[in-house]
Amino acid sequence: MTTYFEKRQLVTPGDLLAEGKYRAGENTYKDDDKIYATRIGIANLEDTTIYVVALKAFYVPSVGDMVIGKIVEVGISIWIVDINAPYLAVLRASDVLDRPFNPRRDALPAIFDVNDLIIAKLVAYDRTHDPVLTVREPDLGKITRGQIVEVTPTKIPRIIGRKGSMISMIKKETKCQITIGQNGVILISGKTPEDERLAVMAIRKIEQESHTSGLTDRVTEMIRKEKEV
């Protein structure tokens, strides 16, 4: 039972991470009792599981996630939504309307059109079906204003912080409303463009320095300093 990495060390694919009775977690694989990395990222050990947090990755859909997607196609009874994943998601017309969908009466482009952004929740997804979305919950639906920031989806947990500490700090300091899509798309809407600029700056800083510790304090400091200028 030995590990060959220091806490939060940067590893590359093929690096030997540990030997012994460990479990291979995310972005690792096991050969006999040796565990190797499969991605560039930060290695971690939790209990007996070894995993790698990838520096950059695609969004892997997961049921229950809130995502921000872009309508790329309007079909007869569905919308096709780009959610930044390897697969396009589907939003059904019957999900949006309160009544049964009637193609003669209901025109889908009038509800969501191509290039509209929507906040949606993933309700179904497995390896045989494309992701299915819903907007039938409060705070879901079309985005009409605000600024969009895109980050690599693996950085989302860092932007949220432990128990939401990071994001609630940014919200408090910049007075912006921030909606985070698990797929790496973030919506910021503030009272002034200046507030929004601060929030974008904070998110960009977190994205760049996500692998360092003591980040919340430094981001707070940066926002306060910028506000004084």
């Binding site: 997607g69 872009k70 790329v72 780009d82 930044n84 191509v114 290039n115 509209d116 952004l117 985005i143 009409t144 204003r145 605000g146 600024q147 969009i148 895109e150 798309v185 463009p193 600029r197």
Partner: protein
């Protein structure tokens, strides 16, 4: 949403809104270029080469010199050909295969700038009038596409031409013999392209990828070293008013001068 080409309507609105307030999404001023990084002599086996990074846009240019026949209408002048490759590596939009209209436009706009400013003194490239001249091949390779390929390519092409050396030769009994040593390719002008994007009746200089995706039209002005316009190119579906073009020409002169200092060192 990097996998699809179009820009979300909310983002389009935001970009136009910011520009009407004199700001841009990447915090540049309306008339600011992105940072230009230039390297010359990056390809060892080419006669001349350069790599330009304009923000995240990256273009590499290699120049080959070969001996060939002149065109019959200009028997005592060397030949210039420009070719552009949009490699699939550079953008999810680029496909492998023969050059498409965008690649051809890019090559032609760069070519026009060099040709019409008479940057290369082609008479000096003549070896035997009517029979043998030097052919200058300018090959543009787009390595990363983050908008404004034209300006980056024009800069890279100029830098590569300035870096180009021709092998020495002598003529014996109508035959060309290569001698050791090199001479500099005769470059007498320095054309610089400046591209504008029109977004909601406002002009921005050096549009990056997202701005190019939402722009109504694009306008390129190439300025020679005397501050004169030597090439123009318009792209996209929108239109321009006369005043806007005159205004753009003035900005282009100023910007070209700034960029020329970076490209033409010494």
């Amino acid at each position: 949403m990097t996998s699809s080409i179009t820009v979300a309507r909310v983002k389009q609105k935001r970009i136009a809104e910011l520009i009407s307030h004199g700001k841009r999404l990447d915090e540049r001023g309306l008339n600011d270029f992105r940072e230009v990084q230039l390297e010359v002599g990056v390809i060892e086996r080419a006669e001349g080469s350069a790599r330009v990074r304009l923000g995240k846009t990256e273009v590499m240019v290699g120049i080959k010199i070969e001996i060939g026949e002149p065109f019959s209408d200009v028997p005592n002048q060397g030949v210039l050909t420009v070719n552009a490759e949009l490699v699939p590596l550079a953008s999810p939009k680029f496909e492998p295969g023969p050059p498409n209209e965008n690649a051809i436009e890019l090559a032609r706009v760069v070519d026009r700038g060099i040709r019409e400013s008479k940057a290369i003194s082609t008479e000096k490239l003549c070896i035997i009038p009517g029979k043998k001249v030097f052919i200058v091949f300018v090959d543009l390779w787009v390595l990363n596409h983050d908008g404004n390929l034209i300006d980056a390519s024009a800069m890279a092409a100029l830098a590569a031409l300035l870096n180009t050396k021709i092998f020495n030769y002598e003529i014996k009994d109508d035959e060309i013999k290569i001698k050791p040593g090199y001479t500099q390719l005769p470059i007498v002008d320095h054309p610089i392209a400046v591209t504008f994007a029109k977004i909601d009746d406002n002009f921005v200089v050096d549009p990056w990828l997202v701005e190019e995706q939402v722009m109504d039209a694009r306008f390129t002005i190439t300025i020679d070293k005397d501050g004169k316009i030597c090439a123009l190119q318009k792209g996209g579906y929108g239109y321009f008013s006369m005043e806007k073009i005159l205004e753009a020409a003035k900005i282009a002169q100023q910007k070209a001068e700034e960029l020329r200092k970076i490209v033409v060192k010494g």
